[in-house]
Subunit: 402 residues, 4 copies
């Protein structure tokens, strides 16, 4: 992060836009329902990192000043997806849905439904240049219509295939050239959302495993437009535990012989990840965590299996086979049974608040102090949760008002 | 820790004595077998914290310069208890035992067998003053016979009942008075071992849950004789994991609703802990860990059940019921299946080396930098493993040669 | 079971009363809500043993002909307890509750609220004779008011203390004498409910662990009034799995060294069982299961811990340490996470339907063919689930129409 | 099984040969070491089904009359593979190995080492006809050299690819034709071992998942030579538990929504199964178990992952997601941590004894009463363990002497 304090951060005051790519998804819906529930005093702020004491005096934007919008390739309305959270995942109550119905109807009007944004390497459709112009216009329109001080763009679209690598992706001009020549197989939707956001001065948070902030060309754009960026791949369940536990084995000089993990989930994200080309980035992120924390590469197997009946309730079982004094082998196993969207949504709100804070302080480029939120954190080699969290506390201490 | 650097630490050179109270126990036997195996190149130093890179340049005493001795109320010889490790726990091989037999026979000669040291509040037997004098004599004799530069005393006796509280325990003179008037119900064996060690200038490490270093009177002795002390209750299995995981829930603002743990073990320690009066200290240590890390007191249940067939193979199952965003309840459970003595023994060697290092640097009193080794660490309120380990790394950095 | 076919079983036709002692409890409420939901086509009959193919041609009473009533010492209305199932246990939906509200209001009128029925060995209050007369009157009134062909009484009151043993309990006349002389410390509420039911010709099912059908005096009453009885202690979770798995170890000649089980629950039943005197019968039932199936007594530990946050969601973890060929020790562990009332309620409906069927066939005394439903089955030494279920299938084959 | 009692079974008397294909494998070695240890009173008969009371009066061949031999493509001697069981799996002790060394050296002389027996669809090498003749000669020689009354052939070779299907495999003459024309891609080693055994009148037990007894041609040979056959794929761990638990869900009308299983193992069998073409038969057997027991096909996922560090210690984790009353979803999970060879070896001895018994009773063709021993039992559609074991008890009752 390079930059200096621009002006005093405001707690209330002008509103912050949160524009979500994939606004019709499980996480997006849970994020919006949760934020509005908290803003209306219908739920407390449990699960929000930014509600923890060390961040109290940062002047973070209050949830009641957040204004939601975004885009999705799907046409199921926000109230309908919220209904599914109640029926299938049993995570929100009927009463909460009914109370928030007016809010959800209003926010639905700020969500563009556009099937064309779901292009793949092979599909035809709108030229990239038009798509970029269309997205940038939508962002400007969203900001002006609601008089928003700033808009943070959060990428929550489905896990998709990674574009083939090409030198042009490594520079801002190269990317512009790819857009101009409509090279759709080299510019994924996630990359386009990043480019549109940065060009409009919007901080960009990539919660998906889809490479975007990782391209040097995108980094160059962030510097050019002096915009903060963060990513990739939100850390919510199994990997969160893995990066909390692996340092323990290191601190006791217990050698991890093998760490096998099987992830079972049955929501849309699970369905997407059931296709090999969509899961390669996620598997890559998951498999390299151990090597980078432990400093050696134990046998590390990762399975991601789609189990429809489990829906949003991700169940992960890990078996850690480790060796101690006199070479004696021992085991630890854990089962994590958490609701993926409920774990992800508060982190989306945290990341948007921190991105807004960075922008207010005139900071731009990779927000490496947010490493604790990601499986594959930008600008930070340290994947161990404890030291990642220390890094966030240091940032908070450096930015605490007075 | 108060004190200053006394003289340059020696890596080889004169020998360090490790005098173990409870030298006939599972941990003691595993410690001795392991140290000799490593010293003779028959095993690598896996499991030893002091073998980790950050401690490489501290000039710690090498394992080959360690000379073992101690005392036990039991009369089963060291080679016989080692044989049981092979037969029952399957942790050491026949070949290793046969190779180390000469060593074990020699070390057995330095282990006093003295049933009288196992007094309880009600048992009669040798007056305390004689016992103290006897122990101090044994320590001096052990040191002089082998020309040892220093002797570290490690308390590994069985978990026993805690003495009734009495003001006299809160001062060195008060303790001396209790010894003089043979008030055995107010001075437990663990307290006596501490007093004898300190009086002989021996650093004292309490690996047991039995209160000893916790008494102000003992602290006063440590200051009076300028001797380092550490304790209480080694952190090897379930509590190690608990203090690595609890900070994760705190960092994600996930409220722990209940944390239930059941510990199953079938070794002598397990048999001792099966008696309510022997387990109160251990249960206390285990139950207060969460409250002090989380800052609030979730429902925390701890069961310790004696299951003979499991022997030394401690199995602990924990269920963590926690609440996230929008109050949604979720669970994590883990099962730890580790061999208690194999986890404890390397820590005993680490603690002895660090105690020796502190003494060489002229430091004395509670070694709070060793917090990561204990369930109930002396002079350190922080029970979270990550920050405890940082504290140890800071100490190492401050003491690294050159 | 002794008896002969009395008359042809009717599937529809006159209504069957189900009169529940403890009608305000979690299981009772779930039973009533479930039966009414199925009767109105708002839920399918999953979980009902009697819905399985082998029982299709028995002419069992259809759920729509069931008429509920009963008694409870608590004054929280049926609709209010149903509301708690929605809010706390998330087991029924808002829509289902609203649809069934009229039914629940009507059924509430048939539930007597009478604090006096909760006597203990020491409490004073209504003389036993009056209580018995009161209960018998209530049963007659319930039956006549709704023109019911038969009333089955199901005991679902809280787990309570077991009465001191007394010879008078071993004969019908002895029991009558204890009632006449108001010996409340020798006649528990569960015994009184059994005596009142039998005297009124009502089949009696004891789903609680509280001894009642086990007394010879009660057996004598069942023979005297030619009434079927069944019990004790419904088999829903951990014990269900234990009696399915233990036969597997026996069939492979794998010796169970120890079988440790910890049960965590946080509902009212859990709170009741947290008092030692209330849990002795339940612990006894749980601990003797293995010995009777395996034919030898492995180390069997059972913990029942009250964990308020878990509510009705019983979590049980079992560790089975077993020994195989060449004496090699191995382990199996399982975690059962089920909603206690949702597992119990369908069994209550099954037991009522089978009790009605037995009565229709002129059978009376212990219904040992229902062994598979109980931890401590009446008149059946076989606790293994597979053979218990075979016994039920044999009974069905012998009673299948045509 | 068709046949009649041929002559009275002998308990001691002339010796029974057990000729193992894959005699150098983990299971074979454990079987031989175990049988000799029991025969010499160095181990008890735990783990042997045939040692259970119901089989005491069948006149089964005593272990001391068993004479081992066989063949393997590997050249590591029996004593060397036994040494690995001590070093790697810690299942046998040094003392037992040393005591049995003479036995193992002798048995090694009866194990042919012949790399050529490891042909695949594509490898060249000895013509099938010669291989068949070579195997038949070896069987005759083994039997005559040791004056054995009978030789049972047990197939324990590695899991291998399944031959392409061909009509010729469906008749004895067809098979003979394939051998004559050396159609190696249509006749796997497992099929050849079956054909050689049957032609020499040797009962054949297929413990591997490799199809052989399943071909009609092989069945025809069994009838032609009036020889008992049994198989396929020994049931030792995860599937054993699955076939004990699935009937429980059926008996309680609890609908299994999904049953996910992950199997981790690191022995040679695990390495073989890591190759897709070798594991198809095993995965097929595992995945169809539930559908055939439950009568409907829940989502059933099976992973078999090779984890070298675990060696012979198979660890299987299953998650059962099931639905109960009112559609409420619940879960059960279990972890099985067993030593594969220690679980398999006693079953090999049981199967050989039962095959010998069948032959003595003049019975031949598929031994469906042995269904409980196999994942994919011959001539028996019932995969539920309880009813499979009843079937074995019925057979025993029908064959009990006197
Ligand atoms: N839930 C977690 O714990 C977790 C953790 C880390 C990362 N993630 C990632 O977050 C993302 C969202 O997860 P989710 O559970 O909400 O998934 P989801 O499938 O419920 O939502 C994704 C939404 O994106 C929309 N979408 C897909 N492609 C699009 C495009 N090109 N343009 C606009 N919208 C598009 C889909 O229609 C859908 O509504 C996924 O990439 C997932 O892998 C989730
Ligand atoms: N193993 C672990 O993971 C672990 C962890 C933390 C604490 N501890 C504690 O460490 C201690 C040792 O554990 P262990 O497994 O070796 O137990 P152990 O029972 O095998 O050994 C204890 C030894 O102390 C001896 N002893 C008892 N009272 C004595 C006395 N008054 N004087 C001299 N000797 C005496 C006993 O005879 C025995 O040989 C116990 O207090 C245990 O609670 C163990
Ligand atoms: N839920 C299970 O899986 C399960 C399994 C086996 C046995 N049981 C037993 O079933 C019984 C009911 O379980 P629950 O979860 O519904 O318990 P609960 O506490 O929710 O309900 C018990 C009801 O009985 C009432 N009650 C207590 N004493 C009474 C008396 N003397 N007369 C009339 N009413 C009285 C209470 O007020 C309460 O409403 C308990 O005994 C429990 O141990 C439950
Ligand atoms: N261990 C279990 O629980 C279990 C359960 C069911 C089935 N099985 C099956 O039993 C078989 C043996 O298992 P294992 O653990 O002993 O495996 P293993 O790999 O240890 O032994 C197999 C042996 O077969 C030999 N072999 C391979 N191909 C051969 C051929 N064509 N002719 C002769 N020898 C050959 C190998 O050299 C090896 O020594 C495997 O098919 C396995 O899938 C094992
Ligand atoms: Na307990
Ligand atoms: Na897989």
């Amino acid at each position: 992060m390079t930059g200096s304090t621009e002006h005093t951060p405001g707690t209330s005051g002008p509103r912050l836009g949160i524009w979500i790519a994939g606004a019709g998804g499980d996480i997006a819906t849970t994020t919006i329902v949760g934020a509005r529930a908290i803003a209306q005093g219908l739920a407390d702020d449990l699960g929000l990192v930014t509600s923890l004491p060390p961040f109290a005096a940062l002047g973070l934007r209050s949830l009641s000043t957040l204004h939601f919008g975004g885009v999705d390739v799907g046409y199921t309305s926000l109230p309908q997806t919220a209904e599914a959270l109640y029926r299938r995942s049993r995570t929100v109550s009927r009463e909460l849905l009914d109370a928030l119905r007016p809010d959800l109807d209003t926010i639905e009007t700020d969500i563009l439904r556009d099937r064309a944004l779901g292009w793949t390497a092979t599909s035809d459709g709108t030229p990239l240049a038009d798509t970029l112009a269309h997205l940038r216009g939508a962002l400007r329109d969203f900001r002006e219509r609601h008089g928003l001080e700033r808009v943070v763009v959060v990428n929550l679209i489905s896990a998709g295939p990674t574009a083939a690598a090409d030198p042009a992706q490594q520079s801002a001009d190269g990317l512009a050239e790819l857009v101009a020549t409509d090279r759709r197989e080299l510019v994924t939707p996630s990359m386009a959302f990043a480019m549109a956001a940065l060009a409009e001065g919007c901080p960009f948070v990539n919660f998906t495993p889809n490479p975007s902030t990782g391209y040097d060309g995108v980094r160059e754009l962030a510097d050019r437009y002096r915009v903060p960026i963060a990513g990739d791949d939100g850390k919510t369940g199994e990997t969160l535990v893995k990066t909390a536990l692996a340092p323990m084995f290191l601190a006791r000089n217990l050698r991890v012989l093998s760490w096998e993990g099987v992830n079972l989930l049955g929501n849309a994200d699970g369905r997407a990840l059931d296709h090999p080309q969509n899961r390669s980035a996620k598997i890559h992120n998951k498999e390299h965590v151990l090597e980078r924390i432990l400093g050696y590469a134990p046998h590390a197997g990762v399975d991601i299996n789609y189990v429809p009946s489990l829906g949003d309730w991700k169940t992960a079982w890990d078996l850690i086979h480790f060796q101690g004094f006199l070479g004696v082998p021992m085991t630890m196993q854990f089962t994590w049974q958490g609701c993926d969207s409920i774990l992800a949504a508060p982190l989306v709100l945290d990341l948007a608040r921190f991105a807004d804070l960075a922008a207010r302080h005139g900071e731009y480029g990779p927000m490496s102090h947010l490493a604790a939120f990601f499986k594959n954190p930008l600008g930070c080699d340290d994947l161990a949760l404890p030291s990642q969290f220390e890094r966030l506390l240091d940032y908070a201490r450096a930015h605490t008002v007075g």
